[in-house]
Amino acid sequence: MKHILSQVFHSGKFVVGFCIFMSILLLMIFYPIFNPGNPLQIVSIGTFAEPGIYVSVYDAVDSDMNTLKLDEAPAKRLDSVLKSEDRVKMVMWFDAAGIPVDNLSIHDTEALLTLWEENYDATIRPEGMTKADRNYFQRLDGNLKKVIVTHDKVLARQDPSSSELSVIRTIEDTDYVNIKKVANVKRLPLGTDNFGRDVLKELAAAIKTSIFIGLVAGSIATLIGLTFGLLSGFIGGLVDDFIMFITNIFTVIPAFVLLILISYSIGQDQRGPTTVAVVIGLTVWTWTARAVRSQVISLRNRDHVNLSKLSGHNLFLIIFTDILPYIASYVIMALILQISGAILAEAQLSLLGLGPKTTEVPTLGLMMNWSMLYTAHLNGYWWAYFPVILTIALISFSLNLMNTGLDQVFNPTLRD
């Protein structure tokens, strides 16, 4: 056993696949520990909050403030709302409104802003300017007013009974808060999804469900395939014909079509992750059965098997002691491929809206389904679907890589 393991871990492909798979497993196990709670909890109101660190403004204004005199701060503040294309557009507005702009350089921020402040009027509707453009200038004007006015901002509390305002503090443009001192800071490394759920937390939970589905479906498929393959290969004759007849029927019907039909007829309220896993397992066992059968046929006339038969061992004993150990490595590899295939099948099903029902558990496919329904792919909310696709690809890739690695170890003809 030790020897086999060391051989296996000498295979580069296996090690790479194993490392990728383990890191995904670690994410699945440890992220919920550091970030506990219901993965389906809606944390943000609204759809698709961008990835980043969210600082509670409510707490920040109450935290101790330090005064930092940073020369670049005003310029940075202005740059955040006034980009070079905004400057070009401002000149276009002056043109449209008939305001002379001779000698004005768009890089001369002060002159540009002064002219803007003096002349911009939201009620003017220059001839030929679209509403979209007028809206744009209104937004720009609003943003500029926020940053170029140098007055301090005043924080006040409202008395609920008299609705009078009492000043709590003034905030100057040089006030800074250490992020560590703020009571509530929420890290959303992958933002939120269409419901406002933490995507990374959901992803960790979804990996768990998907791997569960993969394991259950893979085990079922392998078990059925193995049983049929062993029986049909070892017994042969009429039993073989019968089992192969059934297997062939299942082979000619595309498994995925069968999967869709069964999932559809079960109905959404009955579809939990386990049901979906069983359905997948029941539809994809055929190639394992065929492969095991051919392996068994080549084994059954070996000398040790014949010896066993002569010794009067019964069928099951022979299968378990004389056949199974010889194809065990192959079965393990088949299992790995079945797991990978089942995870993909769940993703495909869910993407079509035929996966597990939505509210109870997240799965990788459901996450993709919802981000597609909310057209995340059209609107640039990459964090809602890309990490999911990447995870599916990596799980499938690592499992296949491990499989190839194992193949090289157990199948001498494939060794370099």
């Binding site: 509403k131 979209a132 209104q138 406002g196 939505t358 329904l373 059209l378």
Partner: protein
């Protein structure tokens, strides 16, 4: 010998080909000319700066242009309560859902009611003409209505109970007489307002032609594709296939007369490309291939704020449009547990409506803080019709977990066996919440309702059946399959808000099979029925207000259903790549954001200009 046979055969074939060609060259037939025009349209050679493109109004290819039919699947033949589409066929009046007013179209001046509100007289504009040049007459109005009743189309069937007769007094005067109740008053005068605003007028001569062609067979008349139809609107058929539908302006359109618009609409062509799904339509809208989109764009503000596209909505800020309808979750009152008003109210109180509005509607709806819940839509006209102060203590804002828990505790509905779920009469409170699969905004709303249940110890699981299944179950009289389920309530229309009160609570729908009209939860309350029958005949403003206030009091106390969000009558976003000067909030024109096709919003077609 064999060779000779082959030679002869070859010669024969060659000759036949030559002759066949010769025949075709003798001048193009009308059909071929049409094909040529069609090629122009389908290969995208419509002049872009003379064409207005829509999206979100037409799915699949059209079945024809028959104004008497209900299933033309043609975006130009569609009666909508908040504004009938009047590109090709016209109505007597145009409904304006901004203020509920009726603007005359074929009619001349305001409708004249008689003293006891049993009949209304409408004058027809002298200038109004059909596309064949003949004048539109009162006779056409009467004949259209009578034909509708005779062949039993939706228009005829829905008006028949309320309208006794539509009569032509002279060529220019039509009188619509209401059906009377036992007391001699009009059954429902609101339905007459609805009639003159919503129903199309078809040409009598054309209908007679159709009758002659079909032998007066109702089914044949309703399915005839009507390629030869005569219309009074500014646009007529130009081209249609499974890719797009194009209409061309009738430059002799009567509306250029000073008594109507005084000019022709700006686009020479109006067109609708047929997209396979919302996503395809959205891509086309973003790229400027579509001018006016009726599709729901989630986070519509991203289109201009992030993507910098020349796209705008009626209002520059949230909720971006005028909301008219109230998507509502109904309680099935036949389900044990949901027959308890405390359970109903607790669930409704616990739901986080801000999350629904932010998630499902991406803030394209006012919140219940801004417009407190009632049977009214958020337009100022309807809001003014009830006394908000009188019901203020009944209007819950939502996300009130403590309040909902306290309500249930007080009512003695507690978790007795410690499984975290409350029991009522020994039965665990567990419900299924449903809406059709794929209706993403509704699905998100149902998910949030389910999440609220968990917080107050009521198990709510979401189920999303396919629409085909959903609609058959929901319209059954005594279904017990769906327990909490979503349906719409109608948007703005001349019969609102009376019709919405009726839709939400009238017992006339209890036990009705194939019920598409309302009260799907089977609520019944005799006092509400009295109010519903009293409102249409009430003309005194104060009396009307007190009736609406009472109806709202009952609605908010009994909670037979609860509104989850406000929703626009139709979505309306415009891309100003080609056309500009669309109607906007505060421009003083009072043109509603109805995609420039619904009711009075068609006035927008006369104000738009090409971008310079």
């Amino acid at each position: 010998m064999k060779r000779k046979v082959v030679l002869v055969l070859c010669l024969l074939m060659t000759f036949s080909m030559v002759f066949a060609n010769g025949k075709g060259d003798k001048g193009a037939k009308p059909e071929e000319q049409q094909v040529a025009a069609a090629d122009d349209a389908s290969s995208g050679t419509l002049p872009r700066n003379q064409t207005l493109y829509w999206a979100g109004l037409q799915w699949g290819s059209i079945n024809g242009w028959n104004v008497l039919s209900d299933d033309m699947n043609n975006f130009n033949v569609s009666r909508q309560a908040y504004g009938t589409r009047i590109t090709m066929f016209e109505t007597l009046y145009m409904y304006n859902f901004l203020d509920g007013s009726l603007e005359p179209l074929l009619a001349d001046g305001a409708p004249q009611w008689n003293a006891n509100k049993t009949e209304v007289t409408v004058k027809i504009k002298k200038a109004a003409k059909w596309s064949d040049g003949t004048p539109v007459t009162a006779e056409d109005v009467a004949y259209s209505y009578n034909t509708g009743v005779k062949i039993g189309n939706t228009s005829g069937n829905s008006n028949k109970p309320y309208i006794a007769a539509v009569e032509a007094k002279d060529a220019q005067t039509v009188v619509i007489k209401a059906a009377l109740n036992s007391a001699g008053a009009a059954k429902n005068p609101l339905m007459l307002d609805n009639f003159i605003a919503v129903e199309y007028v078809a040409q009598k001569a054309w209908i007679q032609k159709l009758e002659a062609r079909t032998g007066g067979d109702a089914t044949k008349m309703k399915t005839d594709p009507a390629e030869d139809v005569v219309y009074s609107g500014p646009y007529g058929p130009y081209f249609a296939d499974d890719q797009k539908v194009v209409l061309v302006r009738n430059d002799n359109y009567w509306g250029k007369d000073a008594s109507m618009w005084g000019k022709l609409p700006a686009p020479k062509y109006v067109a609708h490309t047929i997209y396979s799904d919302n996503a395809a339509g959205e891509v086309a809208f973003k790229s400027g291939e579509v001018d006016v989109s009726q599709q729901f764009n989630s986070n519509v503000q991203d289109l201009w704020e992030k993507d910098g596209l020349p796209i705008s909505t009626y209002m520059a800020e949230a909720p971006y449009g005028i909301c008219g309808s109230l998507p509502t979750a109904y309680y099935n009152l036949a389900i044990p547990g949901l027959d308890n008003v405390n359970v109903r109210k607790a669930i409704a109180m616990a739901v986080d409506y801000d999350a629904i509005i932010a998630n499902a509607m991406t803030n394209q709806s006012p919140t219940f803080d801004q417009v407190p819940r009632s049977t009214m839509n958020p337009t100022p006209g309807e809001q003014a019709l009830y006394d908000q102060k009188a019901v203020a203590n009944l209007q819950w804002v939502g996300n009130d977990i403590a309040g909902a828990n306290a309500l249930l505790d007080k009512a003695g509905i507690k978790d007795t066996n410690g499984d975290g779920i409350r029991e009522l009469n020994g039965k665990k409170l567990s419900f299924k919440a449903s809406c059709p699969n794929g209706w993403t905004d509704w699905m998100a709303a149902i998910e949030i309702v389910a999440a609220a249940g968990e917080k107050i110890g009521i198990e709510i699981t979401s189920v999303f059946p396919e629409w085909s299944v959903y609609q058959t179950v929901i319209t059954q009289a005594n279904q017990t399959e769906y327990e909490i389920f979503m349906m719409w309530s109608d948007g703005s229309s001349p019969t609102m808000p009376w019709n919405r009160v009726r839709q939400l609570m009238s017992s006339e729908y209890v036990g009705v099979e194939g019920n598409w009209s309302g009260n799907w939860g089977q609520y019944s309350n005799p006092r509400v029925d009295e109010i519903i029958s009293a409102i249409p005949a009430t003309t005194d403003a104060a009396k009307l207000r007190s009736l609406y206030t009472e109806a709202n009091k009952i609605y908010l106390t009994d909670v037979p259903s609860f509104t989850l969000m406000y929703r626009p009558n139709c979505f309306h976003a415009v891309n100003e790549s080609v056309w500009t000067n669309y109607p906007e909030d505060g421009d003083g024109q009072n043109i509603p954001p109805g995609d420039l096709i619904h009711g009075y919003s068609i006035a927008g077609l006369y104000t738009i200009k090409t971008v310079k």
